[in-house]
């Protein structure tokens, strides 16, 4: 399919795919602030995300067919140390594909939930903020410039705070959640920019590739190490690395349902991408300080996230909070994969990243459907929905099984890969903990599924009422993707393997 798109695309689209991917939504976002009605804004945002999605496919194709595996674009044709370079390799091509796919599906299904949750006069602005956030996330993933990355990170974060705060129409707790998120997010971004400052002081450049070529000689430099520490913590915070995750459960629980779905599947993923980019490409996993960070910081934190947050999810009564804590736990899996420090481990982590985007996207979308039709997110509200909304709930169940890691689902495949990568390094105890954490996932998802399919509805007057078709179609696309990639995992696994290879080693990057 990618070949077909490459052949069909005009020459300008091929050569300018990288800037257009980001700039089209960023240009359309302010336009949305001017359009009169939310419905037009909705259609424009579908168009914008769709265009970005096409460009993401084109970029993926270009990267795959490129002899060096890199697509580079100099903005304003300023040469590299002066100007900003947009730099796409297999790693960010994959992230871009995830963000744009989820963005497209999210904007397609968003309209009914926006109508239900956002006041009429704010809808166009809401979509404007969404497009800014979308463009910012893509910008983070696409840029090759460390400072530009910060700018895009802030663009996406600030619009995210707005999006979260707009949940106040349904639940006033969205405001403190957004404020908390704002403080934490700013803290993380500040740490990141401080780290970049240290690196700039040591190397004199902001281009990530140039930094990476200059670093080997400077590995013992104190400011490089300080920069590493700040960047790790700053991006770790953005990626909701345990124990820096505490902004996430509230932000995900009280924001508008559509925002939750979009953020859960993209925001932490993009931050994690940036972290991986720094850990593996800018810094090298064979630097002494990074090895010790892997084994003493990332691996314990990843495992702690897996276990602790799964336990916390077990005791939640609100389905969105269960899923939010589960997200932190899943980030733990990815961090664990990253912390192994091998290509196998990194590709397992990235593979789980792809799959987690699919399953959490589907789960939160189903929850959005329930909120829309039945108003309520506690487990009690979900009781008996298996009968009243079988289509929504079947998709929910498929994604939940994938989250648990039942064989023949995508979640199983990535946990399997993670297990293989851990075994290769003799970390059998970590495999045991992964299994234990999956067992906890059985409990917390099992509680929901039990309520959905085996308990009678609390309110017996709950009649058969599905979520709207507009929501069901993207929901089922994601649910079926969970099943399809659970059986034929070649495509996402290949993406993750290429991405891991690209993240490793300067040769693959250049």
């Amino acid at each position: 399919m990618i070949d077909a798109i490459l052949n069909a695309a005009p020459a300008w689209a091929l050569s300018h795919a990288a800037p257009l991917l980001v700039m089209v939504p960023l240009f359309l976002a302010p336009l949305l602030a001017l359009v009169p009605t939310g419905r037009i804004a909705w259609l424009i945002s579908i168009a914008a995300t769709g265009i970005s999605f096409l460009f993401a496919l084109i970029l993926l194709g270009l990267v795959q067919t490129s002899p060096i595996g890199v697509v580079s674009y100099e903005v304003g044709r300023w040469p590299v140390p002066l100007g900003i370079e947009l730099r796409v390799d297999a790693l960010n091509a994959m992230i871009l594909l995830i963000v744009t796919t989820i963005g497209l599906l999210a904007s397609v299904f968003s309209w009914p939930t926006v109508v239900a949750e956002i006041p009429k006069r704010k809808r166009a602005l809401f979509y404007s903020a969404f497009l800014v956030c979308f463009a910012g996330l893509n910008g983070v993933a696409i840029t090759g410039d460390a400072f530009n990355l910060f700018v895009f990170l802030e663009i996406s974060s600030i619009s995210t705070y707005v999006l979260v705060a707009l949940g106040s129409g349904r639940d006033r707790r969205a405001l403190p959640a957004a404020f908390n998120y704002l403080i934490m997010g700013t803290l993380g971004a500040s740490f990141y920019i401080i780290g970049i400052g240290f690196l700039y002081a040591a190397t004199g450049t902001l281009n990530m590739y140039q930094i990476s070529t200059l670093l080997p000689e400077l590995a013992g430099h104190r400011s490089v190490q300080a920069g590493f520490a700040f960047i790790l913590v700053g991006l770790g915070l953005k990626a909701a690395m345990w124990p820096l995750h505490q902004w996430l459960p509230n932000a995900y629980s009280y924001s508008p349902t559509f925002v939750t779905m979009f953020l859960s599947a993209t925001a932490t993923k993009v931050a994690l991408y940036a972290l991986i980019r720094f850990l593996f490409t800018v810094f090298r996993p064979d630097y002494g300080f990074e090895i010790s960070a892997f084994s003493a910081i990332l691996m314990p934190l990843g495992i702690a996230a897996m276990v602790v947050c799964s336990f916390q999810a077990v005791f939640q009564t609100d389905v969105r909070r269960i899923l939010a804590y589960s997200s932190v736990a899943q980030v733990g899996y990815m961090i664990l994969g990253v912390s192994i420090g091998t290509t196998a481990g990194l590709s397992a982590g990235l593979f789980h990243l792809v799959n987690h985007a699919m399953m959490k996207g589907a789960l939160f979308m189903a929850v959005a459907g329930v909120v829309l039709t039945y108003q309520g997110t506690t487990i009690r509200d979900f009781a008996g929905l298996g009968r009243s909304a079988p289509w929504t709930m079947t998709a929910f169940a498929i994604a939940a099984l994938s989250l648990i890691g039942v064989p023949l689902t995508a979640g199983f495949q990535s946990k399997l890969q993670l297990g293989f990568a851990l075994f290769d390094q003799g970390l059998w105890w970590a495999v045991g903990l992964v299994v234990f954490s999956s067992f906890l996932a059985v409990i917390y998802m099992g509680r929901v599924l039990e309520a959905v399919f085996f308990q009678p509805p609390v309110n017996p007057r709950k009649t058969r009422k599905e979520a709207p078709v507009l929501l069901l179609v993207p929901l089922w696309i994601l649910a079926l993707a969970n099943l399809y990639f659970g059986i034929a995992a070649d495509f996402p696994l290949g993406l993750a393997r290429d991405a891991a290879a690209a993240a490793f080693g300067v040769e693959a990057f250049r």
Binding site: A229, V233, Q316, I487
Partner: protein, 586 residues
């Protein structure tokens, strides 16, 4: 035929139709589906190109060949599909979505397993046959059927688990899961697979799930069940273990021991279940010989068996449907009111007894002839004994006690037309397959032309099949055996049919095992509460501790020791990372 259709697996057609018919509430539409889907599948199979991998897929680096037709699996799946059509016709009188759906799904899974091109695919559909077929037993909706279905499912799943276990071993030692035959039984993986196949083929002592479950299925269910599971196992054995010498003995024992059970069994469907065991024994024995002609015999006998055994099951089903029982002690004289059923039953009985001009005569003889050629004298005598035994329980006992003998006084209607039609077609096949080739490709030559080793089959057909020796010896065996029956009846030595259940190897788990479990339960009932109390004390303490830590009211949700201070965490983490970085470089 268009290439797109060529990749359409006939088994999947049936599976899809089966799932669909679960949802079709309109009876007429479902009837159309149950007949049309097997017919469509038949067409697809007949026109499918042979000896090439038609559909393949890659799962976890394992190549799975989902659809591959060759000479051996063609004849098995052909028989399965024709049987599916007949079963569809036979079931027309009943309006039961679950039964129709399960029957189609089950048939489809069996066909798909037969057409699998590797062991993994075979395993997947192997399990699906087990799971779908259990509904055919459950639908009888009796207490006995419920328990039997659960036991049946347990045994079938055990077979699947063993198979999967074996596959894992084989994958490790051999590196692939192709359908290349195994030779070495001492490899644990191969042994696992052998036992897994053995359970489904109902090897001696592993057989009893069959007699336990089949007679308790619905009228239609036992007809459908009698076709697939065991023949699929025979196919799997012929594919993976041809020439495995243990099979000769296992098969011979399989032919002999059910004879004794069948004589004293009162439930006529259970008699037929023993008869399945006995006929599958012939096939297993042929697989053990493994020569081309023997494999021909296995394939041909399986083909013929599907129809004559199906026919007998159908006739007993019709009796059950009309009278409500198939107990020999309560039946008799039904030929007065069910002459058509009687006629078809007699045809089936003659076919299974291998009367010349009937189907078993042209199929079973290939196996027996190869046994004799290979010099197995004892095996030969056992098979001859079994042939006489078949005549006893299936050839005489079934029609005699159901339709003749002592008149039970039951005056019922003749079977419904659809049942008669299905029986008629099956009866036609029983006769047609046994006819001499009046012109090329007619009668038995049609069947022989489908066999995996055609030339050997044709050679046998020309030189031996309808030779004077062969026919006369067969008549000697049969007529003397019938004479023995008449003689024993005349002098009242023939044991009368009595009500009751006959113990078999399932006694070991249904009685001994059950008693053990009950005993253990009693012990547990005394020792348990003390342990449970202790256990609950420990777990509740652990739960309280975990809850205090993790729940929304717990420590962690409040931010742990440093209340609400994620920023402190951030600073602390930064400090640790910095410290580590500095220390690591030194």
């Amino acid at each position: 035929m268009p290439s797109m259709l060529a990749g359409l697996n006939p088994g999947w057609v049936l599976i899809i139709a089966g799932v669909a018919s679960l949802f079709i509430t309109m009876r007429q539409a479902r009837q159309v589906v149950t007949i049309a889907a097997p017919l469509l599948a038949l067409l697809l199979l007949v026109f499918a190109p042979q000896n090439m991998d038609l559909v393949t897929t890659q799962v976890l680096g394992l190549k799975m060949v989902l659809y591959r037709v060759d000479a051996l699996n063609f004849i098995f799946s052909l028989a399965f599909l024709i049987a599916a059509v007949l079963n569809g016709i036979y079931a027309l009188h009943s309006d039961d979505r679950i039964q129709d759906g399960a029957a189609l799904f089950y048939a489809g899974a069996a066909v798909a397993a037969t057409l699998a091109g590797d062991l993994m695919t075979l395993f997947v559909f192997w399990e699906l046959t087990a799971i779908s077929s259990v509904f055919l037993i459950l639908r009888a909706q009796t207490r006995a059927a419920y328990f039997a279905a659960m036991r049946y499912l347990g045994v079938q799943v055990l077979s699947g688990v063993l198979l999967l276990n074996g596959l894992a071993y084989v994958l490790k030692s051999r590196g692939d899961l192709s359908l290349e035959a195994f030779t070495d039984l001492s490899d644990p993986g191969v042994l696992f697979i052998f036992i897994a196949f053995g359970i489904k083929a109902a090897f001696p002592l592993l057989h009893n799930w069959l007699q336990d479950a089949y007679p308790k299925a619905t009228v239609v269910g036992s007809v459908v069940l009698s076709v697939y599971t065991t023949k699929l196992a025979v196919y799997a054995l012929a594919r993976m273990f041809p020439g495995q010498e243990h099979l000769v003995w296992i098969g011979a024992i399989m032919t002999v021991f059910p004879v004794f059970f069948a004589v004293i069994e009162n439930d006529l469907r259970r008699v037929l279940s023993y008869s399945i065991n006995n006929q599958v024994g012939f096939m297993v024995c042929g697989v053990g010989i493994g020569t081309p002609l023997a494999i021909n015999g296995v394939a041909a006998h399986a083909f013929a068996d599907i129809f004559f055994k199906g026919l007998l099951m159908m006739s007993m089903g019709a009796v059950l449907y009309r009278t409500g029982t198939v107990k020999a002690s309560q039946l008799g004289g039904l030929h007065r009111s069910m002459p058509w059923t009687t006629l078809f039953c007699i045809i089936g009985a003659m076919a299974i007894s291998a009367f010349p001009l009937f189907s078993a005569f042209v199929t079973k003889s290939m196996i027996i002839s190869e046994v004799a050629t290979a010099g197995y004298a004892v095996i030969f005598l056992m098979l001859m004994f079994a042939s006489a035994g078949v005549l006893e329980h299936s050839g005489i006992k079934i029609p005699y006690y159901a339709f003749f003998g002592h008149d039970s006084g039951l005056r019922v209607k003749e079977a419904p037309f659809n049942m008669l039609l299905a029986m008629g077609i099956a009866a036609f096949l029983c006769i047609f397959l046994g006819l001499p080739a009046l012109f090329p490709g007619f009668g038995h030559e049609w069947l022989y032309g489908l066999l995996p080793y055609r030339e050997e089959a044709m050679g046998y057909s020309h030189h031996h099949l309808f030779s004077f020796d062969h026919i006369i010896t067969q008549f000697q065996l049969l007529i003397f055996a019938i004479f023995a029956f008449v003689l024993l009846k005349r002098f009242h030595v023939y044991p009368p049919e009595k009500r009751g259940v006959i113990l078999d190897s399932d006694w070991s788990y249904r009685k001994v095992g059950y008693s053990l479990v009950t005993w253990a339960g009693t012990v547990w009932g005394k020792a348990g509460p003390a342990m449970t109390a202790a256990f609950f004390r420990i777990t509740s303490r652990a739960y309280n501790w975990i809850e205090a830590a993790f729940s929304p009211r717990g420590e962690l949700a409040r931010g742990g020791v440093l209340n609400g201070a994620m920023t402190i965490w951030t600073a602390a983490l930064l400090g640790i990372v910095l410290l580590l970085s500095f220390m690591a470089v030194g």
